[in-house]
């Protein structure tokens, strides 16, 4: 291999790096600066709607990991009463198949993403923990009505290429 371009190739490359010195960096400084996630984000922790759920267990059947456990009993009007609805988030792979398959739109993916825990047992969510709360918002995954209400996602495409 010869050194045949007299260093022109290296010089060209160095011009590119120099150009980047005057471009805006693309880094997001995470804890202070937060980007809006996608409206369909499959975030942590499922959200369960107590009123809509009929206890049919379609979600548990569609889960590839077997992370959802439902125990029901027969109610007075020949319906199911959900006695236990437990999701082990430690096994959850956030594929969203349960939310998609729910025929009554009673299950939502979470919108949040900061749900780290110190112990594995804290990842197991029971009926109360699955309900929506101030900190837990449903995401629009497979739920177009929720999706329409959420803010649009921030894209790197819109932020990049700005001259400093």
């Amino acid at each position: 291999m010869k050194f045949e371009r007299y260093g022109a190739g290296i010089a060209k490359g160095m011009v590119v790096t120099l150009k980047h010195l005057f471009r805006h960096p693309v880094t997001t400084q995470y804890p202070e600066e937060r980007l809006t996630v996608s409206r369909r984000t499959r975030g942590n922790e499922l959200i369960w709607d107590r009123e809509r759920c009929t206890g049919c267990a379609t979600c548990a059947k569609s889960c590839p990991q077997g992370a959802i456990r439902i125990v029901t009993s027969r109610g007075e009007e020949n319906d199911y009463i959900v006695e236990e609805f437990r999701v082990d988030s430690g096994y959850c792979i956030f594929c969203g198949l349960c939310v998609e398959s729910c025929p009554y739109e009673a299950l939502f993916m979470g919108y949040g993403y900061e749900r780290a825990r110190y112990r594995r047992r804290e990842l197991v969510l029971n009926k109360e923990e699955l309900l929506t709360s101030e900190k837990k918002q449903p995401s629009g995954y497979a739920r177009p009505k929720v999706e329409a209400a959420l803010p649009p996602q921030t894209l790197l495409l819109d932020r990049d290429g700005v001259k400093k």
Binding site: M1, F3, G7, V16, H20, T27
Partner: protein, 374 residues
């Protein structure tokens, strides 16, 4: 009398030792400058660590460290605390004494280089009349430390790194020395202070080829891209200091940046007229130039890939060495034949010679071998 008084020309009095009229004489001068050099080297090394990370960050379209202190300037301090409090591991089958000595052997010579560097006119620890020879001689001791580290770690990657280190550093000593000789011939002195004084125009203009050779050879000496084979992280993990941790690793890390500092300082002194410059005070000029040289080194690091070991060796022996010899020959002829020619004529002549030589070598020089039949 201020320390950095420009009128204080020590070498004029008594080359190689101390000024007789100094209050307290020998020992005070000694003590003051040792403190200054230690402080200068350590502070600058930390500054370089911060600057390199910031600059590389910006070259790569990201921010670089910006958490500790304003603009992250205290990042090296935080790093130092982290590294010093880490567990100090010695490999079970390593050679413990050598393992322990290696960082010291690598670090001390680098520090010693600064003894002869003039921060401004006459402001230096010892104005040796063989200054540049001393620098070349001392700085090559570092490789012994590197080899000791690689050998004593009892790690195959370390050994590979150490073997690369020895072959590469020893080879690049030669073009390095020869490219310095051109400057020495022009200045007519080996003393660094005299070399600076002799630069009415910076020697980079009179010695463009010598400057390029020196930069390439020095980059190899201090294991900088594209010659960072010793610690090529994508090949041999971390080379000779794979096994090092804690304080010993910190020393190696410091050695790396002190070496860069040493090279920046020497380049500034030899080719960029050291502390000379209009308007601003000499010390400031000196620092500006040092940082400028360092930025170029970082810039190269951010851009180019790494050469292979045989290519590095071929580059030293087949490209840099002949070019350095030719450069020395041409400089010698110029000094002997036309000592009085206008400097600007020589500037353009030397630039033309450089371009011709580089073109010639690019045409005929083959970079390293290929596959070995096994």
């Amino acid at each position: 009398m201020s320390l950095f008084d420009p009128g204080l020309n020590l070498s004029a009095y008594y080359p190689g030792t101390l000024p007789p009229e100094w209050p307290g004489g020998y020992w005070i001068h000694w003590g003051v400058f040792v403190v200054i050099i230690l402080a200068f080297v350590l502070l600058m090394a930390m500054g370089f660590i911060w600057l390199e990370r910031r600059e590389v960050g910006r070259f790569q379209a990201r921010l670089g460290p910006n958490r500790v202190g304003p603009f992250g300037v205290l990042q090296p301090v935080a790093d130092a605390i982290k590294v010093l409090t880490k567990e100090d591991i010695i490999p079970a089958k390593g050679d413990k004494l050598v393992y322990w000595l290696a960082p010291v052997v690598a670090f001390v010579p680098v520090l010693m280089v600064f003894a002869v560097v003039p921060f401004q006119d006459g402001a230096l620890l010892a104005d040796l009349n063989i200054g540049i020879l001393y620098v070349v001689a001392i700085s090559s001791v570092s490789v012994v430390g590197v080899f000791m580290a690689g050998w004593s770690s009892n790690n195959k990657y370390s050994l590979l790194g150490a073997m690369r280190a020895v072959s590469q550093l020893v080879s690049y000593e030669i073009p390095l020395g020869l490219s310095i000789l051109g400057v020495v011939v022009l200045a007519g002195s080996l003393s660094l202070n005299s070399i600076v004084e002799a630069q009415h125009i910076p020697f980079i203009l009179l010695q463009p080829l010598g400057f390029l050779i020196y930069m390439a050879a020095a980059a190899a000496e201090i294991n900088r891209t594209p010659f960072d084979l010793l610690e090529a992280d994508s090949e041999i993990v971390a080379g000779f200091h794979t096994e090092y941790s804690g304080m010993k690793f910190a020393l190696f890390y410091l050695v790396e940046y002190c070496e860069v500092l040493a090279v920046s300082v020497i380049v500034t002194t030899l080719f960029l007229a050291g502390w000379k410059g209009p308007l601003l005070p000499p010390l400031l000029w000196f620092l500006i130039k040092v940082f400028g040289v360092f930025t170029v080194i970082v810039w190269v690091r951010a851009t180019v890939p790494r050469l292979r070991v045989d290519q590095v060796m071929a580059f030293a022996w087949k490209c840099l060495l002949p070019l350095a010899l030719i450069n020395l020959l041409i400089t010698g002829i110029q000094v002997l034949v036309w000592p009085e020619v206008l400097p600007w004529a020589v500037v353009f002549l030397n630039l033309a010679i450089m371009v011709v030589l580089i073109l010639l070598w690019s045409k005929f020089f083959k970079l390293g071998g290929g596959r070995v039949e096994v």
